[in-house]
């Protein structure tokens, strides 16, 4: 492509850092110099400029608008990173969250004036209990990993209450999300990993061998991070319970099974629910998380406060242990009452979908992933046999001897206007390409993506490694030097040395 005089590429404007656009004296608001006054800053008045660039208001607006136009997100195009990062956020949710009755209330208001808000938390809690079959839910955890912490703290409280303080180990499959071992370690447990079998599921014999009277819990993701349903889960629950341990399920992938099965029927003791993954709330820089954690009968007494209860006078918050005769709460996990704005969006989604709509959404998510698996299985290398759940996992065997890596392949996808899928995770397969289309993508979008991936795979196999090494070509910046960025990061802009010629 020919270079332009301006350095811009069509209407894609080459944008300098805002500090590089500094023209001293330019300002958005021109205030008159104040009269001299005696300040009361105790001699700490600022001595010199603080280093903000001088810019007019239109310059600032253009700068941030141009930056935002370089963004790529779920609202721009296909995004096979999937629900981990972002899936479609229905605009109805946003509309509901902006209703003044929800948006303008304050957690310190008298409870009689926020009955609607409390009812909303209570209603969402009832839905989450119904969808999982669990008797209790802690609503306050502020994100998925916080929900994990809530679950493990609840398990620890239950063991301690029974005097079983010798339980010091937590078992985690090797394909688990990194937050699982981190959570267990944060709760003071030592972590042991359970290997996977050649079907990508937990090796039941290896699990049995590791169980004992010193095991506090198992943390299992289902469907797991390979996008596979752990079909021996009921037996896993039985052996875990026989050993006196509790069964924590990482609910990150609940979006693949919601409305299809009740996790209580699987023998699970607690599970967090990422509201962004299953119930379409914003995430990935778009909004705060929320990780309500459902609890079994055995763990329910230890749930953190506050809880919302309903009695003849309406809805009421229980915020103190002495007001909660039914339990032995482990304390508080978060200020106020949870991520209320996220609750509004999640309940809005649930009510607009209905129970049948939620079951259809999980079915469509699984169908879309299997469509990718079926249409790409002959040119890529699926890591495991058989159908998948909501995400399709491939590894880099199809690139063997081509000189092209998973990273190169991902960069070439960017040139095609597709955000790359998850790469190099899970670690249990080599050079992973993990694709999660989610339930909202149409067949036409998936067919477009499939055509791109097939053409790129054929190009790689035809020996055109150079094409991939050069990618991306069409982006505002070419391939970034990730190694240099990690080894010698430049985290702060510094002015260039004085330009002598300009003086």
């Amino acid at each position: 492509m020919a270079e332009t005089v301006s350095g811009n590429r069509g209407l894609l404007i080459e944008e300098k850092l805002i500090f590089e656009q500094d023209s001293p004296g330019h300002t958005g608001v021109d205030l008159p110099e104040p009269e001299a006054v005696n300040d009361r800053l105790g001699g700490l008045r600022r001595q010199g400029p603080i280093g903000l660039p001088g810019l007019s208001e239109p310059q600032v607006i253009r700068h941030y608008t141009r930056l935002s136009q370089k963004n790529y997100g779920i609202d721009s195009g296909f995004y096979p990173l999937g629900s981990c990062t972002m899936k479609h956020n229905p605009r109805l949710n946003e509309r509901m969250a902006r209703l003044p009755g929800f948006a303008d209330i304050h957690p310190f208001q008298p409870q009689s004036t926020v009955q609607g808000g409390l009812e909303l938390i209570h209603s969402l809690a009832e839905w989450l209990k119904a969808l999982t079959g669990m008797p209790a839910v802690a609503m306050t955890p502020a994100a998925g990993a916080h929900g994990e912490l809530c679950g493990l703290m609840t398990i620890r409280a239950a063991h301690e209450d029974k005097g079983e303080t010798q339980r010091s180990r937590v078992l985690v499959p090797e394909s688990a999300h990194g937050t699982n071992p981190a959570t267990a370690a944060a709760c003071g447990y030592s972590v042991e990993s359970i290997p996977a079998n050649d079907r990508g599921r937990v090796d039941l014999a290896a699990l049995k061998a590791k169980l004992g009277p010193d095991v506090a819990a198992i943390m299992l993701t289902n469907p797991n991070t390979c996008g596979l349903f752990e079909n021996e889960i009921i037996e896993i629950a039985e052996v875990v319970h026989q050993a006196g341990a509790y069964f924590y399920c990482d609910g990150a992938n609940f979006n693949a099974i919601v409305g299809r099965l009740r996790i209580a029927d699987l023998g699970i003791d607690c599970m967090h629910i990422n509201l962004h993954k299953t119930f379409s709330t914003p995430h990935g820089g778009g909004g705060p998380g929320a990780g309500p954690t459902v609890l079994s009968e055995a763990l329910a007494p230890y749930a953190p406060l506050p809880v919302v209860v309903q009695d003849e006078d309406g809805f009421r918050l229980i915020e103190h242990a002495h007001d909660w005769q039914d339990g032995k709460p482990l304390g508080r996990l978060k200020g106020y009452h949870g991520q209320f704005g996220v609750f509004v969006r999640a309940l809005s989604y649930i009510l607009s979908m209905g129970a049948d709509g939620l079951a259809q959404a999980s079915g469509d998510a699984v169908l879309n992933a299997n469509y990718l698996l079926a249409r790409l299985g002959d040119v890529l290398t699926p890591s495991f046999d058989g159908p998948c759940m909501h995400e399709a996992l491939f590894d880099d065997r199809f690139l063997k001897d081509t000189g092209v890596t998973t990273l190169d392949f991902a960069k070439a996808l960017i040139d095609e206007g597709v955000h790359p899928m998850t790469m190099y995770f899970p670690l249990v397969v080599h050079g992973a390409l993990l694709m999660e289309p989610t339930e909202t993508e149409s067949k036409a979008t998936l067919d477009g993506f499939i055509a791109v991936v097939r053409a790129l795979a054929e190009r790689a196999k035809a020996g055109d490694a150079e094409y991939f090494k050069q990618a991306p070509r069409l982006t505002p910046r070419r391939r970034l030097d990730e190694t240099k960025a990690a080894r010698s990061p430049v985290l702060r802009w510094t002015p260039p040395p004085e330009d002598k010629a300009a003086e």
Binding site: Y424, L427, E482, T483, A486, R487
Partner: protein, 126 residues
């Protein structure tokens, strides 16, 4: 210099003086990790157990634990890796060593693979 021995987790260990083992990650591990960008080394004096976590290596692709191939006390760490983690890529089984440990049970070396066994082992992984 004694022969180098290897673990199934791709650490190497070599006895360069009586009772002292030098530990690093294998050439194969280095290739699999890609460009190494950070290494966390054990503190001097830390006691480590065979198979237990001893260090952390982070590359552009992944962060991984480095497990102790033998038990003992750490007596020296390769501080050069702090500023120049690239040494692990350039010379994994030489200048890119991680730490030295005073072995508490040299017989543990017998459970590790020699270079031929390790070569067969990694070929089986391909």
């Amino acid at each position: 210099m004694s022969e180098t021995r290897y673990t199934r987790d791709h650490e190497w260990v070599r006895i360069e003086e009586e009772g002292i083992a030098t530990v690093g990650i294998s050439e194969y591990a280095q290739q699999q990790l890609g460009d190494v960008v950070f290494v966390e080394l054990p503190a001097i004096g830390k006691s480590i157990v065979q198979g237990g976590e001893a260090a952390v290596v982070e590359s552009v692709k992944a962060a991984s634990e480095v497990y102790a191939p033998v038990s003992g006390a750490v007596i020296e760490a390769n501080d050069a890796l702090t500023d120049t983690p690239a040494l692990v890529n350039e010379d994994a089984e030489g200048e890119g060593w991680f730490f030295r440990v005073e072995m508490s049970d040299p017989s543990e070396l017998d459970s590790l693979m020699d270079v031929d066994e390790y070569t067969d082992y990694i070929q089986g992984l391909e």
